[in-house]
């Protein structure tokens, strides 16, 4: 089977992290985001994945060469010269996708959940329609594409993108499976699958919804990235508790790369991810954070709801909170207070940031 992953654009909402890496290569819970998806696809029998990209494709390409061997999966890049939206890339990769004559998966690269690809394939085969989309229930559906479907068959009656009045709280989770016939509907031009293709398919009775079990998150922006991390770690506690860290000073769900070092008298957690080669010195308190590879957190600091970028150095007695995001290689001097600071890569911070702002 094949799959198309819509990697797309600049990942502007996950800046400053995406200024250093393409978004699919940002580690989510110590594994590149793309790898979460690739591994799940591989498990469902997918042998060939197409990445639809428009930015930093060389970095992605290089990383993918490595993974191809390891995963035993073929990876192609479909490079958009101009942004093609969410449907256009399917047309661009038409040949690759239609080749096998089988249904193919399509997914947004920002999505994290307990990927139900095998179940989705079965669901799709049973109803025989042109497309199946995974839906999930959320509290605030107005931010997403909302789905109204028949309860038994799952056939979608209406598909409304970002509705202004309440329609339903089932939303498009960004995971699809299509029969090759759908490619007739899509031309090679910027096209929105949510606004143009799905409503038409729904009208034709060709679109079906399968409800997702378990957690779901669009982690395209830092605060959702952290929320998604909490959900993922909770699911990990339920399914693979041995992967989580334990020991003195560890509270709740904490994931620590084996190569990381944590000092004495720290209290880490709940909901913390510590990446490879990270050093956390003595007396540090971390809650609800992701610390990316190679960063150093110096002693007596206090971090809550932050993302610390690769190779950062956070000084002693620093306090960081409120979705502070440090880009790659940022240095934060001792004794500073960062509240909601969004710091671009390679910056040195010598003054506190008491109110949320962007540091260029």
């Amino acid at each position: 089977m094949r799959a198309l992953i819509l990697v797309g654009g600049f990942g502007t909402r996950l800046r400053p992290l995406t200024l250093s890496r393409p978004k699919p290569l940002v580690e989510f819970c110590n594994k590149a985001l793309l790898l979460h998806q690739l591994e799940a696809l591989r498990q469902a029998g997918v042998s060939h994945v197409v990445l639809a990209v428009s930015y930093m494709s060389e970095a992605l390409e290089a990383a993918m060469r490595e993974q191809e061997q390891r995963l035993g999966i073929r990876i192609s890049l479909s490079h958009e010269k101009e942004p093609l939206g969410t449907a256009g890339p399917l047309a661009l990769a038409r040949d690759l996708l239609a080749e096998g004559g089988e249904p193919f998966f399509v997914l947004n690269s920002d999505v994290i959940c307990e990927f139900p690809f095998a179940a989705l394939a079965q669901f799709h085969q049973r109803h025989g329609g042109e497309g199946s989309i995974v839906v999930t229930r959320v509290e605030e559906p107005a931010k997403y594409g909302v789905v109204v479907s028949e309860p038994d068959s799952g056939r979608i009656c209406r598909f409304v993108e970002k509705p202004r009045v309440f329609v339903s709280n089932k939303i498009n989770a960004g995971l699809y499976i299509f029969s090759p016939g759908i490619l007739q509907r899509i031309q090679l031009r910027p096209t929105s699958i949510e606004k143009e293709i799905f409503p038409a398919m729904a009208q034709d009775g060709q679109l079906y919804a399968m409800e997702l079990q378990g957690f779901w998150m669009d982690i395209g922006q830092p605060k959702d990235f952290l929320t998604g991390m909490c959900m993922y770690l909770q699911a990990l506690r339920a399914q693979h508790p041995e992967k989580l860290h334990s020991g003195p000073g560890v509270v709740g769900n904490v994931l620590v790369d084996p190569s990381a070092k944590i000092g004495a008298n720290c209290v880490i957690g709940p909901n913390v991810t510590i990446g490879a080669g990270v050093v956390v010195e003595d007396g540090v308190r971390i809650k609800r954070c992701t610390v990316l590879q190679g960063a150093r957190i110096r002693s007596h600091s206090w971090l809550e709801s932050c993302i610390v970028g690769w190779s950062c150095s956070v000084g002693q007695w620093v306090r960081m909170e409120n979705v502070t995001v440090l880009g790659e290689d940022v240095i934060v001097n001792d004794e500073l207070y960062l509240n909601g600071a969004n710091v671009l890569p390679h910056k040195s911070i010598a003054e506190s940031v008491p109110e949320p702002r962007i540091i260029m």
Binding site: N265, G283, R285, S299, H300, W302, R319, E321, Y337, P354
Partner: protein
């Protein structure tokens, strides 16, 4: 030649800008660089040969802490020290005039007058020598220091000599004060509606006496290059501590903490009371004073702060530009931070100390003050805030005044024109009486029951 010194210590109505710290202890006794504010004055006076007696003058009621301090100081410095209580606030000249007989008793040839709320090198001997040198034994000396002010239009620096609040007088001064007193009485007699606030005896040195003396050839200024600062607000106490701690390297090196094995890491000038208990992994300084019985836990960082006695700082806390009140507690990993408001008269860009507490309805960033027995929970941040005594916080606060458990109340809009004019207690004519500060004074006065709608003030919580 017999000399005396008078230290003007003011009273409770003075020093409202020193609240909430002045709720617990009279301002002149507030510890600066580890010892009561006025002890620096006393030490300087005791060093002048021929100085026979020190008189503290003010309108505080008899106070246990004050009496104890005076007794101890007499013992330590081996010089008679007495407290003369004014029956009312009499102004900077009215007090010494009222007690002129006491001051001159024993045949004093000259006497110093020092304001308690200044921080200085106290070049008293130099002032004496200066007075002798230019020959006129009946002249008066004002200690002055040069400051530069930045003026916006035209954009330039203006050099100015300001009055340090430290004087050397001879008995002849009383004649001049007496003349002002006579004039006041005459004016009062002429006025039909005396509203009770004005008294003939309230005489201010600068406004009333010196202005009259200015052209007379009797008033001299001795310019000093030594350090000097006013201590009006809590923030300036931290700045004054820095100046005195700096002086200790020469005057009292035994008061400065040293780096030693098993002890905390000391950066710059730090005072630690012998009964304080400080973990060896703590990092203190520069400009830190640790009071009696204070506990400082592992991995604590303190900088530019005063920790008053009995306070307890738990592990990994970070305290910057803060005064931590007596017996307060700061929980683990908490961050308590203020913004320095150095009233450095020689820094052209420094804010002058008379700035309003509020600007545009928001609290101006200033040092953080925790009143007596305040509890800060673990892991919170307290930034640029003032916490009144006995308050137990449960969350973070920024740029706020947190009152203790008062019932929410209603404050009528105050029309400033209707405020009574007060003949007080303003040392320098250059400090304007800001209406917004008046509002705050009313709030902080516990006897008033009024409410305040501003978001900058958090009333009793939970």
């Amino acid at each position: 030649m017999p000399l005396k010194a008078v230290i003007l210590i003011g009273g409770p109505q003075k020093g409202t800008r020193f609240r909430p710290l002045s709720f617990e202890v009279p301002k002149p006794l507030f510890p600066v660089a580890g010892v009561p504010m006025v002890q620096h004055h006393i030490e300087a006076c005791a060093k002048v040969p021929g100085l026979k007696e020190i008189l503290l003058m003010g309108f505080y009621q008899p106070h246990e802490a004050l009496s104890r301090f005076l007794a101890a100081a007499q013992q330590e410095f081996k010089i008679p020290i007495r407290y003369l209580q004014e029956y009312a606030a009499l102004g900077t000249a009215g007090g010494i005039y009222h007690f002129r007989d006491q001051i001159l008793a024993g045949g004093a040839d000259a006497f110093f007058v020092l304001n308690a709320d200044v921080c200085s090198e106290f070049p008293l001997q130099e002032m004496l020598d200066f007075q002798q040198q230019h020959g006129d034994t009946d002249s008066f000396v004002i200690l002055g220091t040069t400051v530069q002010h930045y003026v916006e239009k035209p954009s330039t620096f203006v050099s100015e000599i300001i009055n340090c609040g430290i004087y050397l007088f001879t008995p002849a001064i009383f004649q001049h004060i007496g003349e002002v007193f006579q004039r006041n009485q005459q004016e009062l007699a002429l006025e039909e509606n005396s509203n009770g606030w004005q008294r003939a005896e309230v005489i201010r040195l600068e406004q009333d006496v010196f202005t009259a003396l200015a052209g007379s050839g009797k008033l001299y200024v001795y310019k000093t290059d030594g350090f000097w600062s006013q201590i009006k607000s809590a923030g300036s106490a931290i700045y004054a501590s820095r100046l005195y701690l700096n002086q200790y390297s020469q005057s009292h090196p035994e008061r400065l903490a040293q780096n030693k094995p098993g002890g905390p890491i000391i950066r710059g000038n730090v005072y630690i009371h012998p009964t304080a208990s400080v973990d060896s992994t703590a990092v203190l300084g520069p400009n830190v004073s640790i009071g009696e019985g204070v506990t400082v836990g592992a991995g604590v960082r303190i900088r530019e702060s005063i920790i008053l006695h009995g306070a307890s700082l738990h592990d990994h806390t970070c305290v910057l530009n803060t005064i931590v009140g007596w017996d307060s507690t700061i929980g683990r990993w908490a961050r308590v931070e203020g913004t320095p408001s150095d009233p450095n008269p020689n820094d052209p860009y420094a804010k002058i100390d008379s700035e309003t507490l509020f600007r545009d309805g928001r609290l101006t960033p200033s040092i953080t003050i925790l009143g007596c027995s305040v509890t800060i929970p673990a892991e919170v941040v307290i930034l640029n805030s003032i916490v009144l005594p006995h308050k137990e916080l449960s969350r973070s606060y920024k740029n706020q005044i947190i009152l203790s458990a008062l019932k929410p109340c209603v404050l009528p809009r105050v029309h400033h024109a209707s405020l009574p004019t007060r003949h007080c207690i303003r040392d320098s004519p250059s400090i304007p009486y800001h209406p917004s500060w008046m509002d705050l004074q009313q709030i902080l006065a516990p006897s008033l029951v009024h409410s305040f709608a501003s978001s900058a003030v958090v009333l009793g919580e939970d």
